[in-house]
């Protein structure tokens, strides 16, 4: 936990350098799961329920089994005899929630598209042809289409063991919520809606399973974390330690590929049955309709208690979350946002009323932010609403409420900390950077000409690197006593003094290799381009949660730093012997990649010399040293505390918190409904910037997804059927939809992390929707429009501007 005050000037961290990953990928060297073909591999096609809710009466596989190329047909009930349902976070609830997630649907299909059977065949087209010949007899059941339907009296029940469609509900009062609302001069109330959306990476989910006759299992997949692989053995009835997960290049994930056990279990069982490796890769329609990778889906009834002069006293909201047909990641999409529930504002009390329901839709996964985009949207809409209702300027009201820099580390009502920040400066800087006053003048001139220009200003938190309790804190107890949230890495210095790093978590297209090489070069003084980096498989991998929740920069930097420190100490013993000095009199000079005697710049003992002794000169090794130089280091979350048993505080569970201020300028074409970006400027604080181009890429990319969330992306269900089934209707932004985002970095280091870095991966998407919507609403002031949901489509704009 070194503060940057005591860190010497950085040589590699923070410098502008190309990412290592690019070299291979620009030459077409990416190898994604769809490119992996072990010998004898079979292809899988899923048989999917056409009904959102139906009992599975009978499955006749006889014709399919006879078709050319077909090796096996697996039904849900046959799979259930071979494998237990997958592990989900529903199991951490006490008692475990009876919401099973089996490989294939067994008794009922609970969403349209849920897989009920699977075919393994020699070619993909043979598998698809055979899947079409599997005859399933359904007993159609009434549909639970919405959260309201789920809670209605007499609603059909999805999971009999649960008894109703209510998964769980919780009420929290952090601080004197009721009193502050009673005493408030004014209460702002809004109902806000955030619909289902999804990361929709170009690379859909896929896996290849090879069941070993000796009883192990090899899995290739584009999962973004190994954590699921560590649970598969239990599901499959084989020793968990015999499951070996191999990573591959991942063409994006954005949260959707964190926990997808069902296709893996299906392929594992088909491999067991056929004796061949078996592959499944979703096509685009499957990915959208049945990929089980949708994000948050909720309504907020929110209230903000304010004083007459616009100071925020307390926030409370009732959130109803439609989790779909299962509870795979538990309540994580509602837990994580509460790390930053009160935004960057000094709000003393928070009330949360949380209701989670099941419906006949695919189960939620996560989408870039774990619910943070929706939460920040709610927060910023409430702030804008407060400004409007009190007649205060929207920027001014933020100024009055931002947490001041002297308040850090700042304790929020939930008990979480904000580690560091300069929120007033971020706001002031972005207004200047954006030319805010000039845009306001141009807005006035435009209005006089009948054009609708709008400016949105938002100030948002970007929490990163959650602690272990994010997985279970809403369950009130911790049956696994889980408090570890770690990341591991292995570094070997070989006999020639070359550095080899094995990462223990796959990259989703994020520059993990670059982060590791940068930190190793910083600490060991080697050339980052000469470091060899590979990925350990899941059988060897140490503790880690995966590339998720913007955690890898912080966690990998910590792990690599820890391993490097350990290696330096291993080398110290040998170096001291070579320098004929006491180990405690030696200093490691990273810049020269060598030991010297403290205060004596020469002679040096370089790393390569030490390595040679460690590998080749066993008889010359001093006491206390061993042959070889290697370290596997598991870095724990740097600051994390357990929640209070009485629920009064969630403890410090996500304190590495970035921040950004966005100024978005749009012109709304009131005749076509189109939104044009005139400017998009942000001041962004993710602490120390480790690689400027990579950080910029995460922000530009995250904001692009946020713009998609605001303007065009939605997964809408009509009576249980998804309307947006492919890229012609699920509209992800193209290059002509996204502006060039102007970025100014504000680096307020975290006092808790190596180099003061914070996470940045999710940040752009967590703030952009609020900014874009605020700008549109500002543009449409003459029409008195209040925007309480996303996306805002051209049809919406026309409805507002042309209706009587």
């Amino acid at each position: 936990m070194t503060s940057t005050d005591s860190t010497p000037a950085l040589r590699v961290v923070g410098t502008r350098r190309p990412t290592r990953e690019s070299h291979r990928l620009v030459r077409g060297g990416g190898k994604y799961v769809q490119d992996i073909h072990p010998a004898g591999m079979l292809h899988t096609a899923m048989v999917r329920s056409p009904h959102p809710h139906a009992r599975i009466v009978r499955i006749d596989t006889s014709e399919a089994e006879r078709m050319p190329g077909v090796h096996a047909v697996l039904t849900g009930s046959a799979a259930a005899e071979l494998a237990k349902p997958a592990f989900t976070l529903a199991a951490f609830h006490d008692p475990p929630l009876p919401i099973p997630l089996p490989a294939l649907a067994v008794d009922k299909a609970r969403y349209a598209g849920e897989a009920v059977a699977a075919v393994a065949a020699a070619t993909r087209s043979q598998a698809e042809d055979a899947a079409a010949r599997v005859v399933v007899t359904y007993d159609v059941l009434p549909i639970v289409a919405t959260a309201a339907d789920a809670l209605a009296p007499g609603a059909p029940v999805l999971h009999e063991g649960l008894g109703s469609n209510l998964i769980m509900s919780r009420h929290y009062d952090f601080g004197p919520v009721g009193e502050l609302f009673t005493a408030a001069a004014h209460v702002v109330r809004r109902r806000l809606r955030w619909p289902r959306q999804t990361g929709a990476p170009l690379d859909t989910f896929g896996c290849i399973c090879d069941w070993e006759s000796s009883g192990g299992l090899t899995v290739w997949s584009n999962l973004q974390s190994y954590a699921l692989l560590w649970t598969l053995g239990d599901s499959l009835g084989i020793p968990p330690q015999s499951v070996r997960g191999l990573p591959c290049d991942i063409g994006g994930s954005f949260g959707g590929k964190f926990w997808l056990p069902r296709p893996i279990l299906v392929c594992a069982l088909l491999s067991r049955i056929t004796g061949r490796p078996v592959r499944f890769v979703e096509d685009r329609v499957e990915s959208l309709t049945a990929g089980e990778s949708h994000g948050e889906d909720r309504s907020y009834d929110a209230e903000l208690a304010v004083t007459a002069d616009g100071h925020f006293l307390a926030l409370r909201f009732a959130v109803v979350e439609d989790y779909g047909s299962a509870f795979v990641l538990g309540a994580i999409n509602n837990t994580e946002p509460l790390a930053q529930a009160t935004g960057p504002y000094d709000i003393k009390a928070l009330g949360v009323d949380f209701t989670a329901v099941v419906t006949n839709k695919p189960p939620q996964a996560a989408y870039r932010g774990f619910g943070g985009a929706a939460h920040n949207f709610m927060m910023e809409r409430m702030v804008d609403a407060a400004a409007d209702e009190l007649g205060i300027d929207r920027v001014d009201i933020r100024r009055r409420n931002l947490i001041p820099p002297e308040a850090f580390p700042y304790r929020t009502p939930t008990g979480n900390l904000y580690d560091s920040g300069q929120y007033p400066k971020a706001l002031a800087d972005v207004l200047e950077f954006a030319g805010y006053d000039r845009w306001r003048r141009r807005q006035d001139e435009a209005r006089a000409q009948g054009r609708a220009i709008g400016i949105g200003v938002v100030t948002c938190q970007e929490r990163s690197v959650q602690g272990a309790s994010a997985l279970w804190v809403m369950y009130d107890q911790n049956p696994a006593r889980g408090s570890t949230s770690a990341e591991s890495v292995t570094i070997r210095i070989d006999g020639q003094g070359h550095v080899r790093i094995a990462l223990h978590t796959p990259s989703v297209g994020t520059p993990l290799e670059t982060v590791a090489a940068t930190v190793a070069a910083e600490e060991l003084g080697v050339d980052p381009d000469e470091i060899a980096i590979t990925f350990a498989d899941s059988q060897l991998a140490g503790p880690g949660l995966g590339t998720t929740a913007s955690r890898m920069t912080v966690m990998l930097a910590g792990a690599v730093h820890g391993a490097a420190e350990n290696l330096i100490e291993q080398m110290r013993t040998i170096a001291a012997d070579l320098l004929e000095a006491d180990p405690s009199d030696l200093a490691w000079d990273a810049g020269r990649s060598a030991f010297t005697v403290l205060g004596v710049p020469n002679p040096t003992v370089p790393l390569a010399r030490i390595a040679h002794r460690a590998y080749a000169e066993a008889l010359a090794l001093p006491d206390g040293s061993r042959t070889g130089l290697e370290c596997t280091f598991s870095y724990n979350h740097p600051i994390y505390t357990m929640p209070e048993p009485d629920g009064s505080s969630w403890g410090v569970f996500c304190p590495i918190v970035g921040h950004s201020a966005h100024v978005t300028v749009v012109e709304v074409d009131v005749e076509t409904g189109q939104i044009h970006f005139l400017d998009y400027a942000i001041v962004h604080d993710c602490g120390t910037v480790l690689n400027p181009d990579a950080v910029r890429g995460q922000l530009q990319g995250g904001i692009a997804q946020g713009i998609g969330s605001a303007l065009s992306e939605v997964l809408e269900y009509t009576d249980g059927y998804l309307r947006q089934r492919d890229f012609r209707s699920y509209l992800v932004p193209t290059s002509i939809d996204i502006p060039a985002v102007r970025i100014k970095h504000l680096e307020t280091p975290s006092p808790y992390t190596r180099y003061g870095v914070k996470g940045v991966g999710e940040g752009g998407r967590m703030a952009a929707p609020a900014a874009v919507i605020s700008a549109i609403e500002d543009a449409l002031r003459p029409w008195n429009v209040r925007i309480d949901a996303v996306p805002v489509t051209p049809e919406d704009v026309l409805h507002w501007t042309t209706s009587e």
Partner: protein, 193 residues
């Protein structure tokens, strides 16, 4: 069955596939092409983009049989077709951080090469427009556009351009791949949404 005779990345291939086999599946599954990816199989995302006689096409929307007697170039063979242009684009994509997950990258580079050939000094809005049929979920496009502009500048100083970085093909043709076909043949634009 369709008998398909086509040149891919300079290598002449002769392969028999089902009539319904797309060019994308033929390239990937039968001809071992490693830089053609499937993102939607509906012609929207552009990840499957290849050059057909130097014109970008969505290989998922073509039948393999339609490519008979044509020249197909994937990113892996672009360096053979256009050493200077490929080197400039690869160098610029690296230096401008235009690559995150890499899935859209082959399509982007092939379309970018085509754009720069037609308009070496293409500006931001021309490039932005040219690539709007190639989806990217990672970058938000800006660094890609800047990379293409940078490549254009590198190519206009072509005497100083970095050496091409591509394997030399064994056997195969030594003749040119022929000029571009007419614009009204199958193009990326005709396959746009």
């Amino acid at each position: 069955m369709a008998h398909v005779d086509l040149r891919v990345d300079g290598i002449r291939n002769s392969v028999a596939v089902d009539d319904r086999t797309t060019l994308a599946d033929c390239l990937r599954d039968h001809l071992g092409c490693t830089a053609v990816y499937l993102g939607c199989e509906q012609g929207v995302c552009g990840a499957c983009t290849v050059l057909l006689d130097e014109v970008p096409v969505r290989s998922c929307l073509m039948l393999a049989a339609q490519a008979t007697d044509h020249n197909v170039t994937t990113l892996a063979g672009l360096g053979r077709l256009d050493p200077a242009g490929t080197a400039a684009l690869q160098s610029a994509f690296e230096s401008e951080h235009a690559v995150q997950c890499g899935f859209c990258t082959p399509g982007m580079i092939l379309v970018a090469r085509t754009t720069l050939r037609e308009n070496p000094s293409a500006g931001e809005s021309a490039i932005r427009d040219a690539i709007h049929g190639n989806l990217c979920r990672c970058t938000g496009y800006q660094q890609i556009i800047e990379a293409v502009q940078a490549a254009g500048r590198l190519m206009s100083h072509s005497d100083d351009a970095p050496a091409a970085d591509h394997p030399v093909a064994d056997g195969g043709a030594t003749d040119d791949d022929g000029g571009a076909t007419d614009d009204d043949d199958v193009t990326e634009g005709s396959a746009a949404q």
